[in-house]
């Protein structure tokens, strides 16, 4: 568990030996794919052993996981539908990470975003659907953005640790949601499961033509791409990365660190808030406790597995969306508890973090000097 040996076979697949110096020249990039890949394979192996202890065949496990995630067109659509909120909640961790901040409160921003979007939709019932959807998106982003900006402001102006405050804000958001959904925003006809009124079928986000995947996936991909450009191709992003690398140097060269923190945290929360809006407008149609499905927490894992790179978040979200999509099949065919997806995610997370120790240590990728 402590050390992860890189698989040489995999390396040759990724990088065919084009010229002798190829591995050395692209060593850094290859490492970013090889090491998380190897960590993933190791985690799947350990999970296989884990289910084998309960008398299940690991090969069946891998087969059904593949089937449930990518085996059919139906499972692909399920996977992509789950990937959409994961891309957005992962950005909630990946963007502040550029500043060296560890924000783990994406779930809270998602809930606040969902709540604000629902409130706007319910008060705009007279408007045409497009206006309602735009209003919902704006409300979700502002709600979620302010929520995480609060954690950023507390860090900047009061020195409160943002990891702990953002997690506490998740529980506070959940309490507010339950309070409103069981109180003033409750639809009196929702008896067993308190919910708000429906936002109206006409106002729902549709599917991407030819699929059952909703438009949230496109929102996610656009947000991730925009974040990538912002971080790696603008002065603002450069300043953020400087501040993340060395905060004292950033202050010495006169960067407005406080402004950077607040802006980045707002954008991060806005992404997660948009995920909440998408879950309301494309999946649930209303707000209730179902929204706290853990997308915010899985998003943290996505961000770490993608090494906080906004563009790498997209494929990783599809990967983990696949794992969570296969949960149902594992439950039906292998009789595994629904928490098995969570266990696997936990093992992957542990392996990915432990594999951080490997960077710069793989012999054949080192530059010869």
């Amino acid at each position: 568990m402590t050390s992860e040996v890189a698989d040489p076979v995999e390396a040759s697949e990724i990088a065919p030996a084009a010229d002798p110096g190829f591995l050395q020249r692209h060593g850094g990039t290859i490492e970013y794919i090889l090491i998380p890949g190897a960590a993933l394979v190791g985690a799947l192996g350990v999970f296989g052993v884990f289910v084998a202890l309960f008398g299940k065949n690991p090969l069946d496990l891998y087969f059904y996981m593949y089937q449930g995630a990518y085996g059919t067109w139906f499972s692909w659509q399920n996977t992509l539908t789950r990937a959409a909120p994961l891309i957005l909640t992962a950005l909630c961790t990946a963007l502040p990470a550029q500043l060296g901040m560890v924000i783990i409160g994406g779930e809270g921003a998602l809930l606040v975003g969902a709540l604000s979007a629902t409130a706007v939709a319910l008060s705009m019932q007279w408007a045409p659907p497009l206006a309602v959807q735009l209003g919902m998106a704006a409300a979700g982003m502002i709600g979620g953005g302010l929520w995480i900006m609060l954690a950023g402001a507390l860090r900047q102006y009061r020195g409160v640790n943002e990891t702990i405050s953002s997690l506490l804000l998740v529980y506070i958001a959940l309490a507010i949601l339950n309070h409103l959904v069981e109180g003033v925003m409750r639809d009196p006809s929702s008896l067993n499961k308190p919910s708000t009124r429906s936002i109206g079928a006409a106002n729902m986000l549709g599917s991407i033509p030819g699929t059952d995947v909703h438009w949230g996936l496109v929102y996610g991909i656009l947000a991730a791409t925009a974040s990538y450009i912002l971080i790696y191709h603008t002065t603002f992003g450069f300043a953020a990365r400087v501040a993340g690398g060395n905060i004292r140097a950033a202050k010495i060269v006169g960067l407005a660190v406080g402004k950077l923190i607040l802006t980045i945290c707002f954008l991060a929360g806005a992404a997660a808030g948009l995920a909440g809006m998408v879950e309301v407008a494309a999946v649930q149609g209303q707000t209730n406790a179902n929204l706290a499905a853990g997308y915010g927490f899985t998003g943290i894992l996505v961000a770490f597995l993608a090494r906080q790179n906004p563009l790498a978040v997209i494929p990783v979200a599809i990967l983990l969306g696949g794992i969570s999509a296969s949960g149902g099949l594992l439950q039906r065919r292998l009789g595994l508890p629904d928490a098995s997806v969570q266990v696997l995610q936990g093992i992957i997370f542990v392996f990915v973090l432990a594999s951080d120790a490997l960077y710069g240590r793989i012999g054949f990728l080192k530059a010869r000097s």
Partner: protein, 308 residues
Amino acid sequence: MADGTIGLWTVPLAVFGGAIRVSTPFLFVSLGECITERSGRINLGLEGTLVMGAMSAYGISYLTGSPWLGVLAAGVTGALLGALHAGICSLPRVNDVAVGIALMLFGTGLAFYLGKPLIEPTAARLPAIDFGWWSDIAQVRAALQINALFLIGVVLAPILYWAFKTTRWGLLIRTAGESSDAAKAMGYSVLGIRLRATMVGGFLAGIGGSFLSLFYPGSWNEGLSSGQGITAVALVIFARWDPMLCLWASLAFGGAAALGPALQSVGVTSGYHLFNAAPYILTLAIMIITCSPKRTLTGAPAELSITR
């Protein structure tokens, strides 16, 4: 609950009783985390440890019929998770905050996985010591049903305070937390000290979890702990890494957490969820008041990544 004989006094009484009952997991987790953080490492995974402890205590108590064996099993489970945390953090360039988040997800996932068959059966619960025998009032008696684990925790706090101050072990842990170079120069293994400190911290957090499933609320389900572990970690920060302050803070938290159920018992149901969020709001408020961007916190171990 409210029979009207003591009227609104039910609320402060229930808060008092709740403070004792609800504070116990906070107390154990914060004392454990206090030891770990004093050694220079932060373990955010204690939320997962708490849930794993609750699950394993319930399972062992159900299988053996002995709740105290369950408590022990919870402690051992916690120590193992602590060892896992410390082991991964010993690797170069691995961030302890991130490992804590990973173990939080892993611990809760594993507990839900293994605990699935435990939701139905009823396990033997920890007995309560009846301190309210002198009273005729039912609420007073209920409030004074105190569990032995609470008393152990209350005794443990001054012992830890004393141990940090005067014993060799306390000094070693503090040295590792203040300056790993100094500990190295004295010929001690910093990683070894932190491993042991994290394991002891996990042991205590596991016991805190056993209280949840074996005494109050006293059953195993997936909603057993929502953030109590992480609240306790935050609590250590404003308790300034002082075990005695951890004790007082835990009691304050228990009282805050008992407010919602206490008000509900006298018929105040509006705002129930908001009152349930009181411990989180209180934690955040106290962190806002006590932290400062200008200076590092007094009493903070210098090696701790979270305060640097």
